[in-house]
């Protein structure tokens, strides 16, 4: 197996891991982290295509590379906006959860916090 295929499998597993974290972890910040993992796995798949597209004397197709560079910056922008939203939610409510209502057993301490 060559380096590109190995990186491709790594990317696929990263997408799976990120998706698992995104679906199963209830905390928003952890979801964000997992989503970034998922994204970096997708970027890695682009890198595999770029490496396999080596031609004309350069070791990797520059077009997917440029798209990934743009993607990394856009992913950062989106993460920063999400973090700002999350911190504002925490400032306002003292909570950092996506639940609309506290569950009944925690109603006593959750409503006014």
């Amino acid at each position: 197996m060559n380096t590109a295929s190995l990186a491709g499998i790594t990317g696929a597993l990263l997408v799976g891991l990120g998706l698992f974290g995104l679906v199963t972890n209830p905390r928003p910040l952890r979801k964000l982290l997992a989503f970034n993992l998922l994204g970096s796995g997708v970027f890695l798949l682009f890198g595999v295509l770029a490496r396999r597209g080596a031609a004309a004397g350069i070791a990797a197709d520059p077009v997917p590379q440029a798209m990934v560079i743009t993607g990394i910056v856009v992913a950062f922008s989106a993460t920063a906006l999400a973090v700002a939203l999350l911190l504002r939610l925490f400032e306002e409510t003292g909570r950092s959860t996506l639940r609309a209502d506290p569950p009944s057993k925690a109603a006593g301490d959750g409503s006014g916090a």
């Binding site: 380096t3 990186a7 499998i9 698992f20 910040l29 770029a50 004309a56 743009t70 700002a84």
Partner: protein, 314 residues
Amino acid sequence: MTVVNALDIGLAALVLALAAWTVAAREAFAAAVGYVAYGLLLSLVWVRLFAVDVALTEAAIGSGVTGVLLIRAAARLRGATPALDEPLAPPLRFLAGVLCAMVAGALAATVLLMPDPAPTLAPQAVGNLPSTGLGNAVTAVLISYRAFDTMLEKVVLVLAVVGVWSLAPDACWGGSPGAPRPARPEAALAFLAQVLPPLGIVVGIHIFWVGADEPGGAFQGGAILAAMWMITMMAGLTEAPPVSSTRLRLVLVSGPAVFLAIGLAGVVIAGGFLAYPSGSAKPLILFIEAFMTLTIAATLPMLVAGPPEQPPQP
């Protein structure tokens, strides 16, 4: 060959182990620290794929700046009540695991089944390099062939700043971004913030400048400059300019504005939006990149600092 192969496998295993740690760690803070290490190792994978430009971007922005953002958020959210966030029931977790394993398996199979060598645009990208005057095909794609993408991405950065700032409480509007600085900065951090920037600024400008012909460019250089500004702000040596500052706003929009202006000028001079007149393509590209570097160096710290949390100083 086999030694290199073993190194590749070891690197992949480390990357996956750190990714698993990021998902599984109990504390969000520990997970965020794991994510930074993960990003740095991932940039080594990018080097192994011969994508050095991407490796630099991943190390600087994907790992470094995103890491600072997430670590600070995790530190501030430590006081949040975790009791409300119950994890999924075990059967559902198992089901989710099966689903994710299937997604990963299908993707891996697709990667292995895809044609190798893949269809490529590399010959066209390299063949048209002389008309741009550049030596780095990735920079040529970013600033010339697919300039529209890159320009819109700068607009995304500015929009993200607008979005973050719009979350400021009314009383704090016009103040400096971020939480108030501690009165007494930590000595080690302040020392680092004095020693590092002279070197970092030179390295950042160098990486921007060589990006025309070697790996590097506006994104990578700008991110390093941004890191230097962030570290001096975190150490309390400089105060972030207030969000109402006209100079700050001009710097933030200068990159996309210059890009757009030159792109529109291309309609008249070179016969197409974002077309460069032949012969003067390279100076124009470097001119655009210089302002893009400036915009990135100012935007990233503003995004990390967050909305203003203190009223404006009179």
